[in-house]
Symmetry: C2
Subunit: 329 residues, 2 copies
Amino acid sequence: MIKIAIDAMGGDFGPEPIVDGLVAALRSNTNFTAIAVGKKEELLNLIPSNFLSRIEIVDTDDVISMTDSATDALKRKDSTIYKAIELVRNEEADAVVSAGHSGASMSLATLRIGRIKGISRPAIATLMPTSENQNTLVLDVGANVDCDAKNLYEFAVMGQVYAQDVLKLDEPIVGLLSNGEEESKGNEVSKEAYQLIRKIPNFAGNVEGSDIFKGSVDVVVCDGFIGNILLKTAEGVADTIGTIIKKNLKRSLISIAGAVLMRKVFRNLKVRVDYAEYGGAPLLGVKAPVIIAHGKSNAKAVKNAIFQAITAASSNLSYNIEDRINKYK
Amino acid sequence: MIKIAIDAMGGDFGPEPIVDGLVAALRSNTNFTAIAVGKKEELLNLIPSNFLSRIEIVDTDDVISMTDSATDALKRKDSTIYKAIELVRNEEADAVVSAGHSGASMSLATLRIGRIKGISRPAIATLMPTSENQNTLVLDVGANVDCDAKNLYEFAVMGQVYAQDVLKLDEPIVGLLSNGEEESKGNEVSKEAYQLIRKIPNFAGNVEGSDIFKGSVDVVVCDGFIGNILLKTAEGVADTIGTIIKKNLKRSLISIAGAVLMRKVFRNLKVRVDYAEYGGAPLLGVKAPVIIAHGKSNAKAVKNAIFQAITAASSNLSYNIEDRINKYK
């Protein structure tokens, strides 16, 4: 049976949404157990007693806060995230979920669990909504600010394997983010990466920013600097559209009535763009599944992050990444 | 009196929207005249006779098409865009507007009109809508795919001067696009650029993708690879939200009724995000104002692009860029 380690205290809102999410996950999937790392007393107060048989607690109360540096985190061996990751390193758990300090989670996972053979740098992947009822996996969205062509090639392979093994897509198509679709487009690094990535199957060539949201491809590869900017840009545009609509609404009762009638449409839209629907972002390239959830995760996001961890832990993700990474070189 | 040269044939839809936009501009601003470059016969058919006194026509029928390479464009001295730019080079016109091949316009402007002293690479700037009733100027959005720190510094100065002289902002604030707000964030190039740009007044430091649409700063600086991706991402997100809303609408009559009541709100939103409201994108760093309009420009976009050209030509833009570029080094 799959066992998931979870940093129960790391999120912005303390242990409550984490435990709630974990309990919701346990309720709807009876095929896993969990190890919750956090202050035992607090966690026991939050966990309904009938779930205690499926949740082991590792007691500790040191939490890496968002203002701590990732480097400091490496020394705080009693912190919730350190202990959660150590459980995976020691094979006491199959995967780890954390809504805590993402830099700390990333560094600790890379150093303590270790990289898959052939991967020079792990990457964070995230799902973006499209206008079709599917999503696009984008990586790297922040782990690696400066990347060379080889890094981008590795991201392409890892993304494709994840899409196949965890998202269960058949022959996922990979695109390289660029400033135009033609092969001649790109900056120095992306042009060099194009020549490496073209060797993998189902490579669609260069894609543009808009392709992510059209769903033209299944996986989009970029460096972590651009990935972060892209993510924040997308959030910014969506927020701004919402703000402009709300501001204009206030000016007219008729429009407000319209918005009330349209509320189901807006609710559906919200569901499509709500990160909580996707859960967390997998850190790809480490030897065991590590799911990094948003610091502001609610119970639903935590539940979905746990489901992602379970699917990844039940797959041959690491094995297949290691197998493929040298195949197309 | 300001004289604007216009490539009358370069747009995707031929001369009609260009001439209509020009006539609309002449109608509402009596303080300029124009030189339209294109097939005389065709243009005469489109221009109302009472405007002929304010439009000079330079007759030529060679048009650089979107599939031609920018390098070829340098040799086709009879093309509409070549001739329009030559009019500025020869000081027969004060500024040029083109909705034609943007790569050709850029190369020709840089080589024939020439760079401002101290500028190593001209950049394309564009206005992005924010949730406040103002816009953010972003540059570079595509002219320079690989940039070094010095290029980014130049973009910062040019953007600030443009915001002051043409957008008429008082002490415009400049931000450097990065993957986080802290000074420690950034990739190698942006960190080096930070140290150069920090010397200019009203530098806000690093900003994130979402800041562009919040209007936290007036000018956002990035390289042309990222700028292009950012622009297409923003368009992609806006389109996708529209598509998701429309798809959901179809499922319910009540929602459709709501949308009808909300139509004024949607119209206002459309105005805020419509590129035609802003006209074209200025190519900054060349000795005279060059406005690059969207290939799909309608008459309104052309009119607004012409207004931008007039404001730029009436300002001390080039002089001020040259003056400031060495000031903070």
